[in-house]
Amino acid sequence: MRAAVVVFPGSNCDRDLAVAFERAGADVTMVWHKDSELPEGIDIVGIPGGFSYGDYLRCGAIAANSPICKSVATHAGRGGYVMGICNGFQVLTETGLLPGALLRNAGLKYICKTVGLKVETSASDFTAGYNAGETIDIPIAHHDGNYFADADTIAMLEGEDRIAFTYTDNPNGAQADIAGILSQNRRVLGMMPHPERAADAGHGGTDGVALFRALAGALATA
């Protein structure tokens, strides 16, 4: 598996994500936001958490229009894998690679804690390492994680089995308790919780490891 991790000014989970990919066996290249091309032969692009461009205008809005994001969209359009975590999820909704938007948390507070997630589907290369219905513990750390989409979009996501994870105890007001969703081809994942922060025993939890291992398994033969 060859992974690229995008670094924006203000990204702060880029190195954690790179380590999580490396631990799963990936060869990782860091890519700067001003680069206009991804390196050759990349299987998956990781868009990390943080505060790209200071969250100016809207979280993820300016990053979504950066030079590198054009090539990320091209990569996704060719069937390439993309994973956006936290601010990365916000970037993916702003680019239109995933539907919906992330609003301010309903309780207005920034929330940083470990939460329970229900794995809604194991039918993706991101979630194949879990059993559908299983509950895992993954940290969240966000101010704008309240997933919003119109009723038709929510129904479509449910109907197409594209909700990857839901919160067991909704912390932010997200519609349908949504914590993470998949693209129609199931190769783009956006999620607010941070699996890369639950990928080492030193983190206090390792429930995120199965995600990176499943990806490495699927993409090793790609």
Partner: protein, 76 residues
């Protein structure tokens, strides 16, 4: 020339910040505030010849997220 763009959350999209402001106004003794919606105003300094259609494209591509926000453009 200038343009002023107003960006607001669409009707039906919860605005928790507006709600917090409404609560605060009530707690301060301002009676009768039934709803508060908070948005933003973006002022653009434009070269002569920039059209309202240009500003509309800016809104669609960057200044507003039309999934959750609506916008209006005032040219002056």
């Amino acid at each position: 020339m200038k343009a002023r763009v107003h960006v607001m959350l669409k009707a039906g999209v919860l605005d928790p910040q507006g709600e917090a402001v409404r609560h605060a106004l009530g707690a301060m003794g301002f009676a009768g505030v039934q709803g508060v919606r908070q948005g933003k105003v973006i002022e653009l300094d434009l070269a002569e010849g920039t059209t309202e259609a240009d500003v509309t494209r800016m809104c669609e591509k960057l200044l507003a997220n039309t999934v959750i926000e609506s916008y209006t453009v005032e040219m002056s």
